[in-house]
């Protein structure tokens, strides 16, 4: 039986109160959380060391300006205890990074939530998060999928965090109350001394299960649409034809950690004589070249680790739903290795592991 804290105010206030306690008691030296940075409502991630700075914290706000996995990579290994509040996909992304030596869980108290989804950047920036969040929280409390969240969020099956120390129950939870679940010994010892005493309690599986059904429906709907877009080269060109080659998708991706992407390196510089030859042989070619190649290459490099956060779709200036494409390809690739990204930090990524008996069908 796991432990839980039953808070008296709404989730946002409760969590902020808990984070303040962690700082004031000296149990952590810093807290990573979303916070409002100005009067007009802009939201950023911040590393806070003074509890007074938490007055403007909005740890559970359904926005993702940056995937926190990258921030966690930069903050760790940490020599002092930190509490971090991140969304499940950000946590999964970080786990995938740790497997690539880009960070460490040591000294981190990870707080996450059963996630109702994230509002796309364009929408949250334009509305400055006001009316939108009210509707959002109402839908989540009812156990429904809110309307205006990222398509990939609607299709996300991993909304219950798998490796967090603390889980805040949001889905199906009444707006005015809050329950947080202490999943590890670390969490229990951190909560000792807090106003609210720990009691026995478990996350209500029936709520999460029924929500999962809704998500699965969305996922199959989305993937059916993608399937029809991924039948062959022509289809892929239809989708990625308008790509402008800015590589923003890879830059904001929590998994893409390379300091210099291979596709931006000297390896892909072409000599003009090559273009001359191609022009002669084919009569025409696209400039700059390798538009689709970049995406296929990126898929082969990281799609099996894709956690479906949807940052890529949000930043794409050509409005391509990159995330849906990568999620589907990623799922299919990972399935071949019985691999689930972000589930377990000790589960090695398929590229690093060779099993003699894998891909038997090719041997046949």
């Amino acid at each position: 039986m796991s432990k839980m804290l039953k808070m008296v105010s709404d989730a946002e206030k409760s969590i902020v109160g808990f984070l303040k306690y962690l700082l004031d008691s000296g149990k952590v030296s810093g807290v990573l959380t979303l916070r409002q940075i100005n009067e007009s409502g802009s939201v950023d991630y911040g590393l806070v060391t003074r509890s007074s700075e938490l007055d403007r914290a909005v740890p559970l706000m359904p926005v993702m300006p940056v995937n926190a996995a990258e921030i966690l990579s930069n903050l760790t290994p940490s020599r002092k205890p930190l509490a971090v509040v991140v969304k499940p996909c950000e946590l999964r992304g970080f786990i995938e990074r740790i497997k690539r030596e880009q960070g460490s869980l040591e000294n981190l108290l990870v707080i996450s939530q059963t996630c109702g989804g994230v509002v796309p950047m364009k929408v949250s920036v334009k509305s400055k998060n006001k009316t939108l969040t009210a509707d959002y929280y109402k839908a989540v409390a009812r156990g429904e999928i809110p309307d205006h969240i990222r398509p990939t969020c609607k299709a996300c099956e991993y909304f219950v965090p798998m490796t967090a120390d603390i889980t805040v129950s949001m889905i199906g939870e009444a707006v005015s109350s809050c329950r947080i679940f202490l999943n590890s010994d670390k969490a229990v010892s951190m909560a000792e001394g807090f106003d609210v005493p720990a009691e026995d309690g478990e996350l209500d599986v029936s709520i999460t299960e029924s929500h999962l059904v809704k998500r699965r429906n969305e996922r199959s709907r989305l993937f059916k649409q993608i399937e029809s877009e991924q039948k062959g080269l022509d289809d892929l060109l239809q989708v990625f034809g308008k790509c402008i080659g800015c590589h923003a998708c890879s830059r904001v991706c929590p998994i893409c950690y390379c300091t210099l992407c291979d596709f931006e390196s000297r390896h892909f510089d072409q000599n003009v004589t090559l273009f001359e030859k191609e022009l002669d042989q084919k009569g025409g070619l696209r400039l700059p070249p390798d538009t689709l190649f970049f995406h296929l290459g990126r898929m082969s490099h990281m799609s099996f680790s894709c956690v479906g956060c949807g940052q890529c779709t949000d930043v794409c200036p050509a409005e391509i739903d990159v995330s849906a494409q990568f999620m589907r390809t990623g799922e299919m690739t990972a399935a071949r290795f019985n691999y689930v990204p972000g589930k377990d930090v000790s589960e090695e990524i398929p590229v690093m592991v060779f099993k003699e008996e894998e891909f038997q069908e090719i041997g046949e």
């Binding site: 810093g30 060391t49 700075e53 903050l75 020599r79 800015c246 210099l260 025409g284 400039l287 050509a318």
Partner: protein
């Protein structure tokens, strides 16, 4: 400009200006005066354009030299083509004036080789914002066509930087299509360089058409746009003066660096601000947070923008692709255009105007930046420095 600066050549005209230009270029290709054409072609999904280098005639027929949008800066396409190696291939590229200017700037940085290129520009009414276009491609296509045919060069439906662009006619290209005449006037081709003149000669074109009415019209439009520029720059000024204003303006920035990726001038393989060195270590981050009570991510947000300004504003051609690419709608283009106009003024430099003008960073003139000498002198003598 070419042999006779006040005369252009008449060409055979189609119903649509786009087709007129297309036929002219096809003719150049068929006469083997060039080996290939670089023009925008609509992508399979029908809601954007891509740069295609072509010599096959069926491809040429699909091209639209007067594309309503500019998803990829033409200078980038030219860079990927000519940066490495040498070849005898000659390519004619149809570009907007700002794309030609960017190509000229890149040639000064050894990223574009102008020797292999014939740059063809046209009087540009501006480009439709990418976001608006993708919401209604068909509607925006016909809207843009009517702007060209109706010779409307002062529309509000184009990007803000386009609204105040005074370089919309004849920058450093080889050939230029004069479109901004009076209503009903026919497009005429103007030579702007020796290369251009020699081509026109080879095509048997006679420069007999008096350009004065067109030049007058262009001057009219330029004056109006210049006024618009002053107005818009005034609004931008307070966005960037003072650190607090900068913080506010860039508060939504997520550090995706799209602006830098889309920018034709930013040629670095790895932007300094993406490098390992620019990433502070974990220990330092926590120390800073402890000192100040809290730090924000992405780190060094303003440093990235100010750094990019100091690296490329001297070559900024105000093409506006940075704003198109920004996912959180920060008016990067207007801001960088304004800052660029100020830094370029300090060196009396006009980005992209001519390939012969050396980049300020590469050239030292003993008498440059006199105003800073003055400032130092008056500071030393105890006078109060003026703003």
């Amino acid at each position: 400009m070419g042999a006779d600066p006040h005369c252009g050549a008449e060409i055979s005209v189609e119903k649509e200006t786009g087709k007129t230009i297309l036929n002219f270029l096809k003719h150049m290709l068929n006469q083997k005066l060039i080996d290939g054409l670089l023009m925008p072609v609509m992508v399979p999904s029908g809601d954007s354009y891509a740069w295609i280098l072509m010599k096959d005639s069926t491809l040429v027929d699909r091209a639209n030299p007067l594309a309503p949008v500019m998803p990829v800066q033409g200078a980038k396409a030219l860079k990927s083509l000519t940066r490495k190696g040498k070849s005898d291939m000659t390519v004619a590229a149809v570009m907007r004036p700002c794309e030609v200017k960017a190509a000229v700037e890149l040639s000064k940085l050894s990223q574009v080789n102008l020797d292999q290129l014939i740059l063809v520009s046209y009087d540009c009414p501006g480009a439709i914002p990418l976001e608006m276009y993708s919401q209604d491609p068909a509607g925006k296509e016909s809207h843009f066509r009517s702007m060209i045919e109706g010779k409307q060069f002062e529309e509000d439906s184009v990007k803000p930087v386009c609204q105040f662009c005074t370089d919309f006619s004849v920058p450093a290209s080889d050939l230029h299509f004069a479109l901004a005449g009076e209503e009903g006037s026919k497009p005429v081709i103007v030579s702007c360089s020796e290369k251009g003149s020699s081509l026109m000669d080879k095509m048997g074109l006679k420069t007999s058409h008096d350009l004065t009415p067109w030049e007058n019209r262009v001057e009219e439009i330029r004056k109006a746009k210049s006024k618009k520029r002053e107005e818009i720059y005034k609004t931008v000024q307070h966005m960037v003066e003072g650190f607090d204003n900068l913080l506010d303006t860039f508060s939504d920035c997520i550090g995706c660096h799209n602006c830098q990726s889309a920018c034709p001038i930013c040629y670095c393989r790895q932007c300094y601000f993406d490098s390992k060195e620019a990433r502070p270590e974990a220990r330092f981050l926590l120390e800073q947070a402890e000192k100040r009570g809290g730090i924000s991510f992405p780190q060094d947000k303003i440093l990235f923008h100010v750094g990019r300004m100091s690296h490329m504003s001297l070559s900024c051609v105000s093409c506006g692709l940075c704003s198109d690419a920004c996912p959180v709608s920060i008016p990067v283009a207007r801001i960088f255009s304004y800052v660029g106009s100020q830094t370029q003024k300090a060196f009396e430099y006009d980005a992209g105007k001519t390939a012969g003008e050396a980049l300020p960073m590469k050239e030292y003139k003993m008498d440059e930046l006199q105003e800073i000498h003055e400032m130092i002198k008056s500071a030393e003598s105890g006078e109060v420095p003026h703003e």
